[in-house]
Symmetry: C2
Subunit: 151 residues, 2 copies
DNA sequence: GATGAAAAATCTGTGAC
DNA sequence: GTCACAGATTTTTCATC
């Protein structure tokens, strides 16, 4: 499916997603057009899903991130889906994770400050359906790095 | 600091980071040059940190994501930093989170399959220093959406 | 199938106003 | 802030292997 040239392109793209296609192509030892075509093909195949904005939320006044582990009612069959649909409607919920064989869900909530977080928590989080229990942890640091994964 | 036009630009950029500056400017009701200069200013201010590649890891054969909660030794003063530095060296550890008032750390590990995960777990994770206890959860779904945050 | 070269359309980045 | 412009980039076309 992907040959070495594609993988190389992908790796360069990953480490510098802002670079021009011609640039990435050159680093992979191709002409601009050839590199562009390969990248486009990977885009169409869904391997490259595009690009995501990296925004400094703290600089915009969102200083507090809280991770919530929410246990759901075990009784109701539709509790899981109902909860997830409702959680997706809360703008400050920036991430939702679910786990194998678990009826609990992890939410990440981004808020301006503690007062704002408390407001979101009371008005939006506690209003979500089928909650059995909540555990909250305030995030101190979050390090992302999926640049080095061997392709 | 930021006026409404900046916020609008930022919002459009966030929902479509691949769009050209001219495009974003037009949507915000500006000429291309004016929009470009505003975006550039936000880039220099560090508000826009750039752009991140979105790659479909599952399509590349990375099908398993596991979330680990690792409790650290409470005794040693440097345990935290030593552990974090070592964890950052493992390519398959794609995310590290730390929490307020906690001596445990959350790692996300990306692996090709369960066999691969087990290998990473035994060879790389268990080799990390100062581990007191580990709890592992296999991720089923991860939904990201920080597009709708009110600016 | 793939590539490179070249051309056209678009975008970036700067200068003048 | 707009407008104009040169240079770079994207995207298509075409000849070639």
């Amino acid at each position: 499916m992907l040959d070495d040239v594609d993988r190389r392109l992908l790796r360069y793209f990953q480490s510098d997603p802002g670079a021009s296609a011609a640039d990435l192509a050159e680093r992979a030892g191709l002409s601009g057009a050839a590199g562009w075509r390969r990248l486009e093909r990977m885009r169409e195949a869904g391997i490259i899903r595009g690009v995501e904005a990296r925004i400094d939320w703290a600089a915009l006044g969102y200083a507090v991130e809280v991770s919530l582990r929410i246990a759901l009612d075990k009784g109701e069959a539709r509790a899981f889906d109902t909860f997830l649909a409702a959680a997706r409607e809360v703008p400050e919920v920036i991430e939702i994770q679910t786990f194998l064989g678990r009826v609990d869900v992890r939410l990440s909530v981004l808020a301006r400050d503690m007062a704002h977080y408390q407001q979101i928590y009371r008005d939006r989080i506690l209003a979500l359906p089928h909650i059995a229990d909540i555990e909250a942890l305030m995030l101190v640091a979050r390090v992302h790095h999926d640049e080095a994964l061997p392709l």
